[in-house]
Every structure is written in C-alpha cells, then in structure tokens.
C-alpha cells in the first residue's frame, strides 16, 4: 500500500480545505475505501478523517427526520424513530452487509460508495472506470451488471439505502466548493461518462453532511432485496416502494430499483400507471411490467428482468394488502 498522510478534520471548513488537496480522500467508516486501498485500486496521498466532525445521530425535526451523514448503519436500523416512521429504511439498513460492517459503515459512506464490479475490484485489471480503455464487463462476465442506462461503465450502484431514501423523497445537504446546499438525493447520482467517470455530481471537497427524510401522513413503504445468499451480499436486484393513499386511491407513489443500473433507478412509467388509481392485481401486474419495460439485458443478466418484475409486483401487493388490512 502506498504511504499516505492522515489528518483528523477539526471542523467542516478545514475538512473541505484539506480535501481540496491533490490526492486527498475523505474517510469515515472506511469499509469501502480501505479495501480499495489494500487492493491497490486507490492510492490517496492524504486521508481526511471525518469521524471527528459532528454530523452524527438522528433528530426529530417535527416535519422530517434528520440523519447525520456519520450515523452508522447499525444506529440507523435500530433507531426507534426510524423503525416507527420509516420501517422500509430500517429494513434496507438491516439487509446491508454484516453486523460488523454496519457497526462501522456510515450513512454518508453508504450513499457515496463505489461499485462492486468484479473487474473494477480486481487488482490485475485496469478497466475504463479505473482510467483504462474499456469496460471488461460489457463483453465479459456481466451476471451482476446493469440492465438499465447507457454508460461506458455497466457496473451497478450497490447501495441499499439509496433506493429506500429516494423512495422516501429524502434530501441531502452538500457543503463544498462545487455543490452547496440541499438537493434531492436522487439528483446527486449520475451515470459516468467520458467527461466524468464518477457516479455522483459531487466534486472534490464536496461533503455530504446530512440526510433529511420528510414525514408523510398516510404512507407505507417496503424494501425487498434479492441476494446471492441469505446475508452479506450486495443486491442482485432490490426494490424500494412507497405509496401514499388518498382514500382508496394512490395519491403518490415511488418505485426505485437497486442493483439494476449505474445509479438508483427510479421507474417513473410504473409510478405514473399507479397514480390516482384504485389498486387491483391487474394494475399491479401492469406496473411491474412497466418497471422493466426499458430493460436491456446482457449475455449473463437477463434473469434480472423477471427478478425485478417479481420484486416490484411483490412490493406493491404487500403495500396494498397492508393498506387493505388497515382498513
């Protein structure tokens, strides 16, 4: 591993100044960055430790829940307010990684983590995302890769929290020289292209400090995740779905897929189909079909289409059944 310097950030302003340095990287839980450094994928000159900053903990703000970016996944999944108000978020957190990793990994780190593509993570491979010429997965072993979106890199976004938080209309606060202020979580994500081989719009020195999840009245959510084994596995496909009801009609709906695209993938066509409708099984089937309508499978990942369709269908049925049971 290359030698590097390590500095505790005394405050946010200093952290940003330090992070502007060439070769600087922020570290919080380190569950992602350290493995990349050990594998020689990243070799920062300077690690800026964010754990000394105050963006920790979960606060009730009356109309929203505020989650500090340094909150660990364990704290998130166990917090009474999260469990009460946003069980789908607690569910998403509890399905991520392992208890050991969740004790260390932070919300901010989870939202900004890098892809798990096995070519990207392979020390002998210099793929496009690592500054190389080509994507190895496009014509290679793409079992776990994207079925949506167009980008020279077909790795999927691995976060479980991101689809759940986007479905909950979460906003994030970003502080920094390039992006500053509150913006919807959905909008920080992008697909990498030739000019920007990154998955977020955040620039050097920009820090995600807080997540804000608005309270809704009559709202239910569900998070489902299909893995390769019962635990400790990134999503092959996940779905986060949230429905608000107006009487027996759908007032507002969010359906966000994980594990299928280079960023959390919101399926607006499916949402539109449900908008203002009374739930029926036929409608659910149509919405599930619409959710995967634009999918483009590769050699080894066509299975993700029926899988995503099934998970969307199940999520919606569960939500509607919950609703009808409550009535």
């Amino acid at each position: 591993m290359k030698r590097f310097r390590h500095a505790d950030a005394p405050d946010l302003e200093t952290a940003i100044v330090l992070l502007r340095e060439e070769g600087a990287e922020a570290i919080a839980g380190g569950t992602d960055l350290l493995t990349e450094m050990k594998a020689g994928i990243r070799a920062p000159e300077l690690l800026v430790n964010l754990k000394s900053l105050e963006f920790k903990g979960i606060r009730d703000e009356g109309d929203a829940l505020a989650i500090g970016a340094l909150t660990t996944l364990s704290e998130l999944e166990a917090h009474p307010l999260v469990k009460e108000r946003f069980p789908m978020l607690a569910q998403a957190a509890s399905l991520a990684a392992t208890p050991q990793l969740r004790n260390v990994g932070t919300v901010g780190g989870n939202l900004l983590q890098r892809v798990r593509c096995w070519y990207y993570r392979h020390p002998h491979v210099k793929c496009w995302l690592k500054g190389g010429e080509e994507c190895y997965a496009e014509e290679g072993l793409n079992h776990r890769h994207a079925i949506f979106g167009t980008s020279p890199c077909i790795a999927v976004h691995p976060s479980d929290l991101a689809p759940a938080l986007i479905a909950l209309d979460a906003e994030v606060r970003v502080v920094g020289p390039e992006v500053d202020g509150w913006l919807p979580l959905e909008e920080i994500y992008c697909l990498p292209d030739e000019n920007h081989r990154e998955r977020t719009v955040l620039g050097r020195g920009d820090l995600l400090t807080e997540v804000r999840v608005p309270y809704r009245g009559n709202s239910r959510g569900v998070f489902l995740k299909a893995m390769e084994r019962a635990a400790w596995s990134f999503a092959l496909v996940s779905v986060a779905a949230r429905l608000d009801f107006d009487g027996n009609r759908v007032r507002e709906v969010r359906i966000v897929l994980g594990g299928v695209a280079g960023k959390p993938w919101r399926v607006r066509d499916a949402e539109t189909l449900l908008q203002g409708q009374a739930p029926t099984e036929e409608l659910v089937a149509k919405a599930a079909e619409a959710a995967v309508a634009g999918a483009r499978p590769r050699e080894h990942n066509a299975y993700k289409i029926p899988l995503a369709r099934s998970l969307v269908r199940r999520a919606l049925l569960e939500l509607f059944e919950l609703r009808s049971r409550r009535d």
Partner: protein, 780 residues
Amino acid sequence: MPKVIKTEVEFEGRFYEEYIVLEGEDLSPWGPDRDRDFRLVGKPQPRVDGPERVTGAAKFTHDVRLPGMLYGRILRCPHPHARIQRLDTSKAEKLSGVRLVLSAENAPEIPWRMGLTKLFDRTLRYAGEEVALVVADEEEICYDALELIEVEYKPLPFVVDPEKALEPNAPKVHESGNLLNGAPEVYERGDLQKGFEEADVVVEGTFRTQSVLHNCMETHGSVAHWEGDTLVIWDSTQHIFGVRAQVAQALGLPLHRVRVIKQYMGGGFGSKNAAGKYTVMAALAAQRTGRPVQVLLDRFEENLAAGNRPSTVQTLKLGATREGRLTAIYHKSILNVGAYAAWPASASGPTKRLYECPNVKTEDYSVFTNLGPFSAFRAPGYVEGTFALEAMMDELARKLSLDPLELRLRNYAEVDPITNKPYTTKGLRAAYERGAQLIDWEERERVKKERSRGTKRIGFGMASQIWGGSGGPPAYALVKINPDGTATVITGTQDIGTGTRTALAQIAAEALGFPLESIRVELGDTQWGVYSPLSAGSMTLASVGPAVRAAAEDARSQLLEVGSQVLEIPRDALTLENGEFVDSRDGKRSPVRTIFEKLLNYTIVGQGARGPNPEDKNVNTFGAQFAQVEVDLETGTVKVERMVAVHESGRVINPLTIRSQLYGGIIQGLGYALMERRLEDPRRGIVVNPSLETYKVPTIEDVPEIVAEMVDLPDPEANPLGVKGVGEPPIIPTAAAVANAVADALGFRIHELPLTRDRVLTELLSRDQDRGRGRGEGDR
C-alpha cells in the same frame, strides 16, 4: 520381531500397493462385550484442546512470530499465459528494508509439479503464478518492493475452457499437449454394448459442475528458520512428513535435518496435502538470509493459486430393465485440472462402485488449461460424480415410475462391484431406512401438495454415497507412562481441525484404563520421529487410532507387569481402572504413581503400529442424505429447508466431533450445491471473483435444519478399533440430494451447478420462451 508384509491401501478411490512393517501382537477387535464397558469411547467428549482454541492460546502457522523474522511476499503473473522476456529486480533490492529477492534469475532450478514447471519458471501458465519472492523486514516493505520489480511479459495464447482446450488447434498449455498423459483414464467391466442391448429403458444426460475453492479460514503459508544445521518449518499442512520429504529433496538435505511442525490449522480440505512453493521459498530465503522467514498467502493469492475442485462436463448414459435393474452405465468426464496436475482427476468413482451393474465403462479426461492447478478437495471426484450419477438414477426412477429410493435398493451392491469382494460392513440399507424415516419420505407427496402455494414449490430428493475411509498402514504411535501417573501419546499425525487430538486421547485413556485428563497427545511434529500418514482421504483416525490403541495396550501390559512386581500382587489379579491399580482379590486401589515412588524415573514406552487392512474384503463407508427444498418460481430462490444425513463409518469414537464433521461437510456441500463457483473470464483468462465478497460461501443464515446421525456399526474386520473415516462422506451426496429435490420441486432438471438464483431464473426464462414457441411441453 518386526514382520514385513505387502498390502493394498486405498486412498481417495485409488489403490496402491505398499510394504509395511508390523510389530507387536495382533490385537483383537473391541467387540460387543467390551462395548458395554466403555467409559470414554463412544461418549460425547468436548475437544481436549477446546480451551486453547477459544482463548487464542492455540498456535497456528499464522501466529508464529520468531525473533528477527522477515516477511516474504510473492509477485504473481497477471497474464493467463506468458513468457518472461526481462526480469529486473534491482530497484526492489535497493529499497531500504529489503533483504532478498528470489526469482528465476538467482534461485536454484527446483522442479515442481512432476517436472511440468519449476519453483521459478520463465513461462507462466496461469494468472496468479509465482514470479518472484521479496523478503523484507516488514510486510509493507514487501508490497512496496513488489511494485519495483520490472517484468516484461510476452503474452501467449491461452485457453481456460477444457472443452476448447481439447480442440485440435487450441493453444497449448504444455508442449506435450493439453490432455494429461495424452489419453483418458478408461475403466471397463462387462460388455457395455450388450448391457445397453439388454436394457428396456435408457436415460442420458450431460451435467456440468463448477470449479470451487477451498477458502480455508487460514490461508496457505509457512515460517522457516534454521536452528544450527536444522531447518525448522512451521507449515499449515495436512502432512508434516510429506512436507519434510519434499523440502529435504528440494534443498538437498538429509531428512534428519528438516523438522516440520503443525500444531493447529484453520482448514485444509485437501488443499494442504503437500508442501507449497511458499514452503520451499521460505526455506530458501531463510537459508540465504540467515533469518526466520514467513511466507503467507493472502485471500486473493489463495483463491488463484492454492488449489480448487476441478470443473467437470459429464455425460452419463444408464440402461436398466423394466424392473429397474441396471444393465449398463457409460460415464465420460472432462475435468479442468488447470495448469498442472500431479495425478489425474476423475469423476467416475461412484459410477464404478456405488451400484451393482455388470457392464460399465468410464472415461476421465484430465485437461490442462491456463488456470490455477487443481488439488484434492474433500472427496475429490466423488462429489462431482455423485451429483451426475444420482441425478440420472432419479431420471431413471421417473421413467420407470419407481420410487427413487426403491430403485437404489434394487441395485444395492452386496459385494464391491470392482473387486467382487464382500464388504467388512455396509450400513447403507440402515442409512436409507433411518433417513427415509427422519425426512418422512413416504409422506412427501402429501407435504408437497399441502405446502406448494402461490409461486412456491416444495421438493424432496435423496442421494447415496460410497467412499473409502478405511485408513491403513503405515502409522505408528508411542504411549509413554510418566512417573506421575500421566501418559503421553506420541504420533506423527496432525489434527487438521477434525478433533484427532480428542479422539486419540479417548482411545488411549480407554485402552490404558486412565482418566482422560491424564492423557496428553503430542502430534504435529516430525521431530518425534513416529511416522503417520497425511490427514486426507478420511483416513486419519482409522490409520492412527489403531496404532495408538496398540501402543496403549503395550504400555498397559508393561505397566501391569511392573506394577504386579512392585505391589506384590499376582499379575492375574491386577487390573487398571481410572488411573489406579485394582487388586481384584480385595478391591484395594493404588494410584499408578505409587509404583514410581519406588522406581523413580522409570519410563514405560508402549509401541504400536497400524496393521494391514483385510485382504479378502473391501472396507468402505456409506451414507444417504435426504433434502427438502422450497423453490420460488418467481424469484429463483432455492431454500433448503431440511437436510437429513445418515452415515455409516464404523464405530463412533466421539459423537460430538463426528456430528461436527457431518455438519461441516453438509454446509460445504450446500455451498457447492447453491452458491459457490469460481468464475473465469474466457476472453481474459482471469478469475473474476477471488475474494470472499464475490465468491460466496454459505453464511450461518444459509444453513438449514440439519438432522445428522450415524449408523453406529463397529466394523470388527476393518481394524482393531472398528472405525472408518467420516471427514469426506457428508459432502459427497449433499449437492446430489439438493439437486434432486430442486428437480422434484420444479418438475424439470437443471443439469448444472450451482443452483444459484440467476441460473434458476435463466432456466425458467428459457423454458418460458420455448413454451412461447410451442416447444418444451412434456419434457424435463
């Protein structure tokens, strides 16, 4: 007087002739009369080394830290096939803290892998092959130095698919060709063509199994240092004497100047049957630097270069009469052995031996490819072969409208089909019966109907297993009676995590009439000079156990002789119980140590040797496993709900550790059945998932309810203990039983492992598409 005899020894399905030396008198087997009096044998006994293991006092190779120890790390080739054009280590050598760089430039030419390569070769035949060793004061300096080594590779054409490797114009892994020995290994009995002519029904299928990785918790590694003129090696190995011989030969040293130690090990599963390149590199580096040198593999290296279970493509054809009697079996296997092979791989063992069938032909093609070399992996070949054979048996049963279990009973082999010899014992029928009872086999159709709801389908499957596990000579042991009345068992075996220490202590204590606490077992060190074989092939206990019993009986008899004279009690009236002499005339007891108060430091040494296996009979282990699964047709989830395992391995010495073996084998088998697969990119020639994140092994969440039992059937003819091995049996039928249950649930068969979500969904998709085109109805 020592007696030399010639005997046949079975190891992992192959037979070898060996000369052995017998000492002492023949022991009579522990028979049923003796059984009633057992104090320790057959009773659950927590591991004698449990406290060391859980407190961290147990010293694994990875824990060895010696004064002045240097670290050695290996540079590996990133190309699947390449020749080194230029190798410049000068920059690395100049880095501060670097003590040595070993490579083809300066290392002796030591032949490796049957001479197919060298310790440092200039031609590299797989991505991950060793190029150089850096030795430095710190591990981190090694990594810096590795980056300073300049290597110019000339990439060569490569092949990773064994079927492609057999094509005429395939890139050559070795000049001698891609087929090991230039021909398949062929076995034939009877007349295959006649057998198929006699058949009323024939089933045929092609099956594919994946390469899987051992992923031992403790990666491969060695620490070597010189004590005077003696090379001492701590090696994470299943065979200390084998490592000694290999290293002595590689370095040109006499055996008495090489000492190999292995006290505790975090898993081997067959991948640690011999010395590794890292072992010899550590020894050479210790020689050159005059300092202890540690060479350990990390997980990435481990999963590229430390062995694997070869992938297979198996074609099977079975013929049977209307009554379900097998008339013919043809079995062709293509096995991907990677870049090197020390022996041919095979998947045909179960086909030759499991069922009675007069006409059998098998062909095993061991094919070289540009991938990490294969190694033994817990029941090599039998896991793969049983999956295919038992799938075909189920297909045959379906075609004949027979209960799968009934079909197996109709082809039950009463004698070994290869040798025509009877078995010493065969508890398979009992295992079938008990297993069927435990899974409620007769009720399975009712359970399937009741519990298959919505997108969920319930299925049941079973499979049988046959394995060797007889153990055999040579294996020797000593039992010393110490002056304080304790005893020390000395053997050259090693405990690879299976509970060998505990079982040997039970046997010695039982035979001596001592309490368990007074027994210490010394093993894992060639310095004791008492040879024992490698711990593989489920042979440790059945090889070493009888030698320990013999040594303990010898020590006991000496102790009674001496005790009788010192205590002035007639020999016939004296016995030993719980570490005390008992005078049977008046019941008076005196502790063993009392005689040494008079004799001072007199030491009794009992000797024991493992005798030969019976010549006129076969010694095998058997078992049956039954799986209940739930498959979700929509999400492709395969959930094993229950696994019932009933095995027969002779006498049970320790029910606790035997259960651990069954659980471990089943869990490893479930990984093979459901999720584990090494993925190789055919275009790049690299393994894409050499990490524990991307290569999935089962977590505890993936483990179903396991009901594991033994048919406790002491085998009086196998050896004087009546024991057989159990390490490998439980992994053998696991994937087969699961795959048969999944086929039962789905109503069609997936011919390839593992049964991952993506595979199940992909198969369901292709069947949907076939159905859409009006095909695929009625087939399976």
